[in-house]
Symmetry: C2
Subunit: 568 residues, 2 copies
């Protein structure tokens, strides 16, 4: 019996499997640094102290021993990799537990997608907890591949790695008491419910908090963060590839409130994960900005563990999982070794060879485009049309108007005016429905880019300087079962296949990163000045972020929360 | 639908039921004092801020508004009152939630006793959460009225007010991996498991923590408290009638660890509850000893709420229970008004008239003494006998030896030598079994005292200067269905009936207090110098606290954890 072995090791009556000697333990319970040996039995910590014996002894030579880091909120799909490959990227950086929201794949494959992510994350050195995706689809103004109501989500409750309800982005629904939203909240009463309430303050915030969500990771100013902390929301500081709020929010942190602060990466792409890191990078920023190292480490360990009620981790203590991080310097915070469940799984920032379980078969691609019905034309009329303005490094867009360029009775893209055509092809049901509009700020001088990463409905979105290029890129993407592609007229310049849901590749994350670099470079060579034109494109279709967006149903005025005509 | 009303009030779209204006909210999330009005809808807080309207408006005139206090660990039975009357004592002092362990009545009536406590605490202004009693009976060396194994305890898990497993006092059982203890821990995995590990440190502590308990309230020194905090145990500071550890442990508290500290009263008798208070008295001591008031208040509110995962209380925040305490001065911490579930339930330290639910019928008395078989005689022999020494204000006893006084071939009590006879009559099964011994330090010059409060098996214990008085007192107790009595020869001097389990009275707590004062005074008039001879007697039968104790099975050498003969 494992438990009796653990107790015997703890008592000193049986040798440990592993003894980490001469380390300085970061004690997140007390905030102290503690010189203690740590005895490990199986995947658990048996005891701290002196006088333990073990089959395997490691001398830490005075280095610091930390609990493995917890990422409080992440969409694994944004790594473009499977959970296994995501783990290979984040575990060497010290993250041993993530609380994930699979709402990207859930919007494509529904419950099948969530179950795939659960299965694909079984048995990894990284513990992947899953929150049931609360907003599938995000709105009825776009066509997702699935709809998940309270009844379906409830079926997930019995899974041991389902912790609660994922970010409730439909904050108007909570505040106004929408019955569908309330039944989801009711179904998850007693579980942790994550929030997502950008800019919600005052009475609206009172209502949102009263509705049930207990966290927020969408603050952009210290004032907003402080008000949310005061009302009882746990604050997740976020540093995503496309939304970096950490430094801005540090002024909100005080000795009195920082116990209620955790860290999250939300959406990180392979280059960031591999070059910069994740939670470890956030810890370095916190310490650089003056937060005491042990306090910063608490935000990545005990704080989220307590918040998510994960009392089997988040600290170096008897009975907890032996997820451990070794570092040399508390200011530099460079992860040297990582133990997961008592096994050394990474060293020097690189994963060791893991015994990995067989990977499940992913869902069949949801790629149903009726090309015969796809029509990209915009018959010309008198007047002005609405134009989406892409804003660098922001999810929000501008809403502009312009007199279109017309050729042969059709509104056409006009790269000379930076007016590109943007199309969203519905890909889940084969309806042939296409939303067509114009966008400025993406900057292609020729050709087109297309992709199936298009938050949150993940239809096939494309932007281009001419219809031929657009169709070529879009067909290339469809032909891969999803992914990213760049084309110029009939020629395909670069592709990144993402056949799992049109969101993820089954390849090693380093390979994916190479492919991503290539498609981004191709788009930039076509003239886009954006750091990552694909990332920008993927949020132009997200109809819950202001101001003007586009779905397969057409343009969406997000401020008015309704579909609007292309013509003013 | 209540939830939609709450949200409408929070938004300001509907008037609140109650608005507390011009208060200074103690914000336990951030540690700040916040000037905010608090709007209440039904039993919940709807919002904080300004601009709310309400049917009923109370002007707090700048007074402080605190969350209701949580008592992290209490045996309600020690108040000698029903949960209703216990609530009448503690709610006016600001306690609106207790986490109780009904192990006194569980040792008498088993599951029926626990269910009675659950039923009798339904619908009170005080929320009584219950932990499933883990140690019934405490040991096989005494005869309790019931035995609760893992299977029985598991049945409690579905009750909404059962939080987890109560103090696991059998710490050797945890540390050594006793299968019965481990199955209880296993049955409550994922729930909060309270610990009880006096003096357990080092490797034994590692094993105890690895076993599952996550708190401790038995520390007596700052060093012990610090080590337990470091290993991850939540520290409950205790200030019971008979075990006061608060001031001793304050040196262990630091800004780095005090988030993991809560307060508990454990066992408090009516005079303390009514004269001194409970959690409020502890807060005053903490502040007097230099803990910042808001930090002290957190120990009685947010800290235990987080630890017990009670995210519906412990803070003044939207959606949480409107359990609120009004005080004028953060240093004096005198509770002026108390709201429970949005209703004003106490003012000026006194309960208001409550609408109380009908009280359930208590279990029939467990009072089965076969008087025909009860024999108190000790035939004389050569040699010395073991004598229990009662130690004032301590649960531990001394173990001494003496040559007995013998009369007519029998060892007799000899008040002139302060050698009194102590007897424990088994009262649960009618076995007629009696443990007989001698005790010194109780100091009666004549007569006898008897009672059914005898931790933890709660048999009928009596101490006296002669057998006639002992039998008279014991018969008086039995005749009441349990309680406390003092007799001198054939005459009954004072009684306190405690017919509910032999532990509690159904009378108002003020009446109980009067009765307790009378029996204590009677015992003291018979010569006992002890502050409360009944309290002392009630722990002389507790065979898990060193050194020499007595049960119905005879003397127990607790250091050796075995029964021993009266004769050396």
């Amino acid at each position: 019996m494992l438990q009796s072995t653990l107790l015997a090791v703890a008592r000193g009556d049986a040798p440990a499997d592993l003894l980490l000697r001469n380390g300085r333990v970061v004690n997140v319970f007390t905030g102290e640094l503690e010189e203690a040996d740590v005895a490990v039995s199986g995947d658990r910590i048996a005891g701290l102290g002196t006088g333990y014996e073990a089959a395997s002894v490691v001398d830490l030579e005075g280095k610091f021993l930390l609990p493995g880091f917890l990422d409080a909120h992440v969409h694994v799909e944004s790594s473009l990799a499977t959970p296994l490959e995501f783990a290979r990227a984040v575990v060497p950086r010290g993250t041993t537990t993530v609380v994930s929201d699979p709402h990207e794949i859930a919007n494509v494959h529904g419950m099948e997608g969530i179950l795939y992510m659960l299965e694909a994350s079984e048995g990894l050195p990284l513990t992947v907890f899953v929150m049931a995706s609360s907003c599938v689809p995000a709105t009825p103004m776009g066509t997702a591949g699935a709809a998940l109501e309270a009844g379906a989500l409830e079926e997930l409750l019995s899974h041991p790695r389902i912790l609660g309800l994922a970010e409730v982005m439909n904050f108007p629904g909570v505040i106004l008491g929408d019955p569908g939203v309330l039944s989801k909240l009711e179904a998850f009463r007693g579980r942790v419910v994550d929030g997502h309430a950008p800019g919600v303050l005052g009475k609206a915030l009172n209502a949102y908090v009263a509705g049930g969500p207990s966290s927020d990771h969408e603050c952009t100013t210290p004032e907003e963060a402080l008000e949310k902390l005061r009302r009882g929301l746990f604050l997740y500081l976020r540093e995503a590839t496309n939304a970096r709020n950490l430094v801005d929010l540090i002024p909100a942190l005080t000795p009195g409130n920082r116990r209620r602060v955790a860290l999250c990466t939300d959406d990180r792409q392979p280059p960031d994960l591999l070059d910069e890191g994740g939670i470890d990078a956030m810890l370095r920023i916190l310490v650089r900005e003056g937060i005491p190292p042990v306090e910063a480490i608490r935000m990545a360990t005990l704080n989220p563990a307590e918040h998510f009620r994960l009392d089997d981790r988040g600290a170096v203590a008897p009975g907890r999982r032996a997820d451990l991080v070794v570092i040399r310097d508390l200011e530099e915070l460079v992860v040297e070794e990582v133990y997961a469940g008592g096994a050394l799984v990474a060293r020097g920032g690189a994963p060791l060879a893991w015994e990995t379980p067989p990977q499940p078969r992913p869902p069949l691609p949801s790629m149903r485009v009726d090309w015969g019905r796809v029509a990209l034309g915009i018959p010309a009329r008198e007047g002005r049309i609405r134009v989406i303005r892409a804003v660098p490094h922001q999810l929000v867009t501008g809403a502009e108007e312009a007199v279109p360029t017309v050729r042969e009775g059709q509104v056409v893209a006009d790269a000379s005016r930076d007016l590109l055509k943007i199309v969203v092809l519905e890909r889940h049901t084969g309806s042939g429905r296409v939303g067509v509009g114009l966008v400025t700020g993406v900057g292609l001088k020729a050709g087109a880019m297309a992709g199936t990463v298009a938050h949150d409905h993940h239809n096939l979105v494309a932007i281009g300087a001419d219809d031929e290029s657009i169709l070529a890129a879009a067909r290339a993407v469809a032909g891969m079962g999803g992914g990213l592609a760049v084309a110029r007229e009939g020629r395909i310049l670069a592709t990144l296949p993402l056949p799992i849901g049109g969101l993820m590749s089954g390849e090693p994350i380093e390979t994916i990163r190479g492919g991503l670099d290539r498609v981004v470079a191709a788009a930039r060579e076509l003239g886009s000045p954006l750091h990552d034109p694909f990332m920008a494109m993927s949020f132009l279709a997200l109809e819950v972020i202001p101001s003007l967006k586009i779905t397969d149903r057409g343009l969406v005025d997000v401020d008015r929360f309704q579909l609007v005509d292309l013509w003013v």
